[in-house]
């Protein structure tokens, strides 16, 4: 590990998820991103939300959103704290 670590947590509101396997897909894609803390990635089925912590020095929220969009899911709103 080098450089600064700038941990942030994001809550991403997705379009309505309909299949439980969508969650596994999105979770898998998010975990594969460098800079995302794998243990914090959680996609919830009913509220159709993704929550995760990430290192803002390594990956941006735009990149994270893009990873989800590439799977064909709409991102409605995301919040970073």
């Amino acid at each position: 590990m080098k450089g600064v670590i700038n941990m942030k947590s994001a809550t991403i509101q997705l379009e309505t998820l309909t299949c439980p396997s969508c969650m596994q897909k999105i979770e898998g894609a998010l975990k594969a991103l460098d800079g995302v803390d794998k243990d914090t990635v959680k996609v919830s089925f009913n509220s159709s939300k993704a929550k995760l912590d990430f290192d803002a020095a390594k990956v941006s929220i735009e990149k994270i959103e893009d990873a989800i969009k590439r799977l064909g899911y709409e991102v409605i709103k995301s919040r970073v704290k």
Partner: protein, 617 residues
Amino acid sequence: MQRFILKNKNSIALIGGILIAIGFLSKWTIDNRLVLTWSLITASILGVAPIAIQAYQALRVKVVSIDVLVTVAVTGAFIIRNYEESAIVTFLFLFGAYLEQRTLNKTRSAIKELTEMAPESALKQMEDGEFTEVDVDEVDAGDILLVKTGAKVPVDGTVINGEGSVNEASITGESIPVAKEKGSKVFAGTILDNGTIQIVAERVGEDTTFGRIIELVEEAQDSKSEAERFIDRFSKYYTPAVLVLSFVVWLFSRNVELAVTILVLGCPGALVIGVPVSHVAGIGNGARNGVLLKGSEVISDFSRLDTMVFDKTGTLTAGNPSVAEKEYYGDDIDKALVYLASVERESDHPLAKAVLEDIGEMPFLPVENTEVVKGEGIVASVGGHRVAVGNAALMERERVTLDEKMKSDIDRFEKKGNSLVLTAVDGELKVLMGVRDQIRPGVEADLLKLKKLGVRNLVMLSGDNQGTVDAVSRELGLTEARGNMLPQDKSAYIRRLIEEEGQIVAFVGDGVNDSPSLALANIGIAMGGGTDVAIETSDVVLMNSDFSRLPHALGLTKATARNMKQNIFIAVGVVLLLLASLLFSEWMNMSIGMLVHEGSILAVILNGMRLLRYRLR
């Protein structure tokens, strides 16, 4: 391109359906096989595109999803030139997905309504003193905000200026206007029905009461029970297993038709979706009706409840003493009441407040020579009369003679658990009042409903003396009532029920001094009107402290648990039926398999949706 295809999944399903219809029409009307074949081929290729993309994406993250099974199956059918099957299966799969999304949205609608009540903007006072509209995320604690008629209160805070009435339905579930003035607390998500107020922000965003309720409900609907976790693990290995099975079948039988049919029949749809659907609809119904259920474990425990333990004060009773019964003796009662009120007005005894509330507005007379007799009452002179207000011991000291009726009245009042307030004027008893903490209206009927729903024991624990406790218990028909209980005694009692008798126990309390019991019971039910402790430590929150929600909560969890079982039954039953008909009958093929499969998914969703309309009869 990928994204475009996925976005237009529904249109693709529609086009596929039209193509299939054209194909068969041309076959039946003009007997044109060529049109049929080509329209089916086009429908297959179009239809499989979005499914294949989803399958590919799933495989990239090492998930064997249903899409993978369907893609392989359709490809197989296509290769053996069974275009009819490949077209119909893709169409059914896409159309089914569309219906699922529509109906799933319905089951989630109750919770969505709740989250949509969240405030989005606020009028914030800027440095120049003017109010400007900003996003609610930009409001910090300490900011001064303006709320106009019809607007949502954006944060939790205190009114510093103005007045109005607020509809707090989003917090309490009760659509009753509540008056607010300077110093009143207001809550995020409530609506200012009339008036204009300025507030100072205290808690913002997710920290507000409303924010926490939403977070709890959202967590609850996605929390998983043991059964669901099992299904999740199961489906993770199940889909690859189906793939392997179908491959093995093909290897040995060289029958592609059979192998791809197995793939379609093996789709686990209804099983993985059946339980979450009941769950989310049940929690949604609760949220709409002022009952916050925190998760599916709570639903499963609550539905199998044996014993319900109640705290007395503030739960079964109103929490503040009032005059429950009274008797008057002799003439000049009006005057006696004026004397009584005048004396009690100067007292700060808790019983005095109840007495004054009961008498209501009265002209007061000057009171002289007040003498307080400790533990007995007050003696004073009012308008030239000697007035004694207190208990039976004071009457004895004052040598007040009591006739038979008075004695039997006193006896009767005491047996009912009243504290007595006797008033004697010039040595004659005029007024007898019985003061007690009265049972909340409707509690008796609610307890009866709970019994009917199958709760075996209704127990009351209280710090009050046994006499008072027994009186309340008799009136309500409880199975057991214990007085003189300290908070630690209550939790010890609950622990004994759970650990030694193996019962499933719910504890209902106000959440203030009962947190140990709330936490210890299998189901802690807080009667907190949105208080922090209540929300945090309990498993079920009755918003607005509304006791009458309790039978609904119990009935709802029972209905939800039943609904989940029905869904599991439907899902497993359908898979078994399909496999059996594949093995033992001739008529089973891929298209019928897909039709039944999608049908069973819709069946479990529609069954779950019934919970949204659940009402306790």
